[in-house]
Symmetry: C2
Subunit: 342 residues, 2 copies
């Protein structure tokens, strides 16, 4: 019995320390510590010993035995984008309630680091992952579908891929924005989009063209600009457009772009919404912090995050579950940037 080292090198107590001090076996100590059956006397002795030495179980050793880490990963392109902050908050709430913790990864949006991350899942350092890839390549699909740990994807995924998936319908969302702007009597509606080789970029482009057509408007390529999904890019794209022509309304593919575009419009001396109506997308707090506040198409980011987290927890509990696909409907939130006060 005293062959076992009672105190490890760093002096931290283990279950051996507690057991020895309490005068019981490590099995009994472990049982008491986990609230399993034991006699009152044993319980008392073990509790006292554990308290005396300040025993705290080692999470690593426990994980090795239980094959769970109680960690959930959330992989995201850019922590600075408020839409991901909102998702993260929703995910964190669900994850914390289940007694687990959240690990956040910033991928920078490039395919290599995202697939590397997915492969690292094989190390089993987390119990599962929620990923919201902005581009979906074959490499992604391959890495996701034969991932050794459960993965839930937020965003569009090819239909055939049997992976839990939470999506929204951004084409309909774009249609709502166009509908709203048209109803305000706007005739020259511009689009500032992100890269077309991204899933959201492509969807917004398609949705925009379809919506304009549905309203009998012709597509004017001068009123379409493409940049990154970021503030500075949005501002630059709007400046490029304004140097050519001035729209009477602008739809932006996310709120960061919208805030950048707002900046460009105001610098150009245009009034928002009187001269140019502005609608963003994602309905983040950023849009509420602008002046004027920015109308935005909500894609339910918090709802999607929470739902993804719940799907993941259910899959961890029962890996045999069939792959599910949930959808969150978009809705338009109208604020000062797109509606002239009467």
């Amino acid at each position: 019995m005293d062959r076992k080292r009672l105190q490890p090198a760093d002096g931290r107590p283990t279950v051996h320390t507690v057991a020895a001090l309490a005068g019981v076996s490590i099995a009994s100590a472990s049982r008491v510590l986990n609230g399993l059956g034991a006699s009152p006397e044993t319980v008392r002795k073990v509790r006292a010993a554990a308290a005396e030495v300040g025993y705290v179980p080692n999470a690593i050793a426990r994980s090795l035995q239980s094959q769970r880490t109680d960690l959930i990963a959330f992989a995201v392109e850019d922590i600075g984008n408020p839409v991901y902050v909102e998702m993260m908050r929703a995910i964190e709430a669900v994850v914390a309630e289940s007694g687990r913790q959240l690990v956040v990864h910033a991928t920078g949006g490039n395919v290599a680091s995202e697939t590397a991350l997915l492969r690292r899942l094989a190390h089993r350092y987390v119990d599962g992952m929620i990923i919201s890839p902005i581009r979906v390549t074959d490499a992604h699909v391959a890495a996701i579908s034969d991932s050794p740990a459960p993965v839930v994807v937020i965003g569009q995924l090819p239909d055939a891929v049997p992976v839990d998936n939470v999506r929204t319908d951004s084409r309909t969302g774009v249609a709502m924005a166009v509908e709203h702007l048209a109803a305000q009597g706007r005739k020259r509606i511009g689009l500032i989009n992100g890269p077309l080789d991204t899933v959201p970029g492509a969807a917004r482009d398609a949705g925009f063209r379809a919506a304009l057509a549905a309203h009998g408007m012709t597509i004017d390529e001068d009123l379409i600009e493409i940049g990154e999904f970021q503030y500075a890019a949005g501002r630059a794209a709007a400046e490029r457009m304004l140097s050519r022509t001035v729209p009477d309304a602008l739809f932006c593919a996310n709120d960061l772009i919208a805030v950048g575009a707002l900046h460009a419009l105001l610098v150009a001396g245009l009034r928002v919404p009187q001269d140019v109506a502005l609608v963003g997308m994602d309905d983040t707090e950023l849009g509420r912090m602008s002046f004027p506040q920015i109308s935005s198409v909500s894609l339910g980011s918090a709802a999607r995050g929470g739902m993804a987290a719940r799907l993941l927890l259910e899959r961890i509990k029962d890996p045999a579950l069939p792959a599910r696909r949930e959808q969150v409907a978009p809705h338009l939130v109208i604020r000062a940037s797109s509606e002239v006060a009467r």
Copy 2:
């Protein structure tokens, strides 16, 4: 040899699987996999076997053996505050470069969950933690100073506490802002602060009063408002102040408050900076996204984050190091919100 299960229940290969397939002992397999000495023939066989079964080492088991998890935690009050996003980016860069990963915790700023988090460090689920507490209670100090794993604190800490610590000098920062506003001829400088029982709130209050005194200005309590360190609170606080009196300059305790105050000023029909000059603090991207862009006192959040991460890594490498205290100097970034263009 075949007593050992070669394939675990979930079918994932272990070092035993690889060793058996290669016809060598697990020790040899492990050595090859870690690049230690082995004969060319053994190396070849093990590599081939590992590739064939797609072996990936189990991070948990490795951690149990090595007593390291290669995870670093960053505990923060509110992930939505852009200042923490900037710190996080800087920390992430340093941490990733060392081959580790970052775990982010949102504490909600309350003492109980922060101390609980610190106690959880005893579980050894991370190698160390960076924490930026907004309030520092005796409970914090106790939990931090006898933490079983290395902790680095970003923010003020009582001098006697022997913990690695990265701080800035926000009093000097406030003085810079006041100096700048006074130099612009502003006479009635207001303050919108966060709670006085927080460390930054108290420092900004003291700094503001000292700076006004240094410029021979009297303190007008009507020009001081207190709320939370957030957008909505800042806006509400500014509205309260404006209902009483109109300052000719406003210093805000962080950029979220400043953006809220800007909103209130613009809604009230005041021009920024002509009627009211505005200076924020933290110099986050949020201030750059506003219109007009907001002048802000930089407290070097990225620098502090990076430095904290480096201190932590050094301490992990050598726990015997004496506690260090680093300081990052503030500087003022002047933008359109505080300087009337000539």
